[in-house]
């Protein structure tokens, strides 16, 4: 059945409050395995909104917001709370610490950055040998974890310990039409999900999962999917926009997604094949509502959908991501318009979900 735009439909707004929430979330520290600070912010934000709020055995925050009516489709939306970062793994003394990365951080982006260490966010830096003392051959090999240390200063030698987590100390900023921050992946998704909870459509039971440990193997979503027993699942995430010009001017055919292209609808990635009925549904809604979207180029990578679709006897799943450049580095860049369009597409798509959507064979 063709989708017609509902005349009274209005997209939830992204205004000052939503941007402030994104800023708070992006600046907060929540490396995989240590999502508590993020969970606290989300819990406070959704206080009083939901029918049921549970923190499960691994730290997922599972929120149920029922629609109006019986036997409504159970639609799970998942956004991961965790971000990539570091763990302190060695103490060299005098405030100098060894680190390992958590999640897929490019080690080449570590040198020369300020960091926050531990629960109290002790400030420190990752330095590098002065260029004057390096040789040309040294400079031709990348700086890897072997050579890099977090320096808190000798006076703070006891203020961090092995096992503490650390993040890049990047402050969220708006730059022109863009958003810049350390953890847009996936605090954009988290903020989108909070906003959808605040504007939940009445035609579905909305199952909001704020998940843990996505960056180290989609681990939180696996149990969240099992617990929530959804009919449909959508992962709200960030996807790499690798849309920069190539060095020789030849066409960039492996861009994955593009900034200003709108929300990226997944067809296939490294962890799942999206349910074609959901791909069609999202496209049809985008077309009917005049909301720009793009199809993410199939390729590697994965989202919480990759874990959820395999839970119980299988869950038709898909991902919708905000495209962002430079993910898994100290600072990513996304366009505000792409975020707005992602929220609009998701909200409109939810209002058109009914039991008939999955009637046909996959």
């Amino acid at each position: 059945m063709a989708i017609r735009k509902k005349p009274n439909w209005k997209a939830p707004r992204i205004g000052a409050a939503e941007l402030a929430l994104l800023e708070t979330l992006s600046n907060a520290s929540g490396v995989s395995g240590n999502e508590a600070a993020i969970r606290r912010i989300v819990q406070e934000e959704i206080n009083g909104l939901a029918d049921d709020v549970v923190v499960d055995a691994v730290g997922n925050l599972l929120v149920t917001k029922k629609g109006r009516g019986q036997n409504l489709p159970r639609v799970m939306l998942a956004a991961h709370m965790d971000e990539v970062g570091f763990m302190i793994t060695g103490d060299d003394g005098d405030g100098i610490f060894r680190i390992e990365t958590v999640g897929g951080v490019d080690e080449r982006t570590l040198a020369g950055k300020p960091v926050w260490v531990g629960e109290k966010r002790q400030p420190g830096v990752i330095g590098a040998k002065p260029v004057h003392l390096t040789t040309a051959s040294e400079r031709s090999s990348a700086l890897t974890l072997d050579a890099l240390r977090i320096d808190l200063g000798p006076a703070s030698a006891k203020k961090a310990r092995v096992g503490d987590w650390a993040t890049f100390a990047t402050e969220f900023t708006r730059v022109g039409p863009s958003l810049r921050g350390k953890a847009l992946d996936d605090r954009l998704g988290v903020t989108t999900l909070i906003t959808l909870l605040k504007h939940a459509p009445a035609n579905i039971d909305l199952l909001a999962a704020f998940t843990v440990q996505e960056e180290i193997g989609l681990r939180g979503a696996r149990v969240a999917g099992y617990a929530m027993k959804p009919d449909i699942a959508i992962a709200l995430d960030c996807t790499p926009a690798m849309d920069l010009p190539r060095w020789d001017g030849s066409e960039n055919t492996q861009y994955r997604s593009k900034l200003d292209g709108g929300p990226a609808i997944y067809v296939a990635d490294g962890s799942t094949l999206a349910d074609p009925r959901l791909v069609t549904h999202l496209q049809a809604v985008g077309d009917a509502y005049g909301i720009p979207y793009q199809l993410r180029q199939p390729g590697s990578g994965g989202t919480d959908a990759g874990a959820i679709h395999k839970t119980r006897d299988g869950v038709p799943s898909i991902s919708v991501s905000v495209p962002a450049r430079y993910l898994h580095t100290p600072a990513a860049i996304a366009r505000l318009d792409d975020w707005k369009n992602s929220l609009a597409l998701l909200h409109a798509a939810l209002t058109h979900i009914d039991r008939d959507l999955l009637k046909g064979a996959r």
Binding site: T109, K113, P114, V131, L133, L143, V175, G176, L244
Partner: protein, 358 residues
Amino acid sequence: MLETKDLLKQMIQVSGLSGHEAPIREVIEPAWKPLTDEMHTSRLGSLHARKHGSGPAPRPSIAIVTHMDAIGLIVKQIDSEGLLHVDQIGGLDPRVLPSQMVMVHTQGGDLPGLLVMPPAHCLPEEDASGAPQLKHLRVDTGLRPTAARRQVRVGDLISFASKPVELDGDLLAGHSLDNRASVAVLTEALRLLGRRKHAWDVWAVATAQEEETLFGATTSGYALRPTLAVVIDVTFAKSPSAPAHRTYDQNKGPTLDWGPNTHPKFHREMEKLAKRLEIPVQEAVYSKSSGTDAILLQVTVEGIPTVVVGIPLRYMHTPVEVVNTKDIERASRLLAEFVSALDETFMDKIRLDKTDEN
């Protein structure tokens, strides 16, 4: 010192790349104004401020020389996506550049930017996974292509935008502490000299272009003809992966640098005074070049007796340089004491054609 520390934090939040020092000069000028008697800017952009001594005119003078310029980048090209290709100003290791926050200084105002390494598939295969190279790095301003191309021009300067971070134990981290930590030393020394008598004139000099040409120091030396000169610059502090024999401790005082750019007797006098006053100092040696303004200042006009004082700095030429403000304090005290002890006998004491009596 609190006032000087605040000034230092302010100084490491402004640009002022080599050859384009106006933004930093405009911060130093008002700080030096109440501490000195006259001030002017040289034709190359160095700042000269004189504090008069109490001796009879014509008075000898001592110049305390600190370069104020900083390292950074410059726009070389703007591509179809509005991303900026860059070249460097001053010495940089490209491996510390990916994901740095920068400020692009355009004619229409400042634009925050992000230095980035393009994804692997956008680079030639042989460069995709190794050390980041300057030719491949880009600045993303977050603007759409047309807006970026409209606002940014080739030749626009790019400075680091990392904010000052205070670490426990009197440490301050940030960019351009090379050499604004030394400008802070000089400023604090002027403050101390305001409370004590000194016979000689003092020229406070903030030089231009040290990181590229050293021409600020030599032209200021020519213009001011000081009787003596002290160059203050940062030196390498001990830090992970830096060789121990070429680095010095933090929080153990400034270094007094020994080598060909240094006047040997002037150096020894400074050392003796530090010992007498129980101000901790470390002896640093360099075999050929001090790597500072002293290189050219020493051989300006008929030659200027020069010494080099170093402030140990970790991670030099990265945006997270770290200095211990206690070392700044100690260096400024040593300088102020040295200046106020200068009398009519000093030049005779350091004559190279006289054999040491002791």
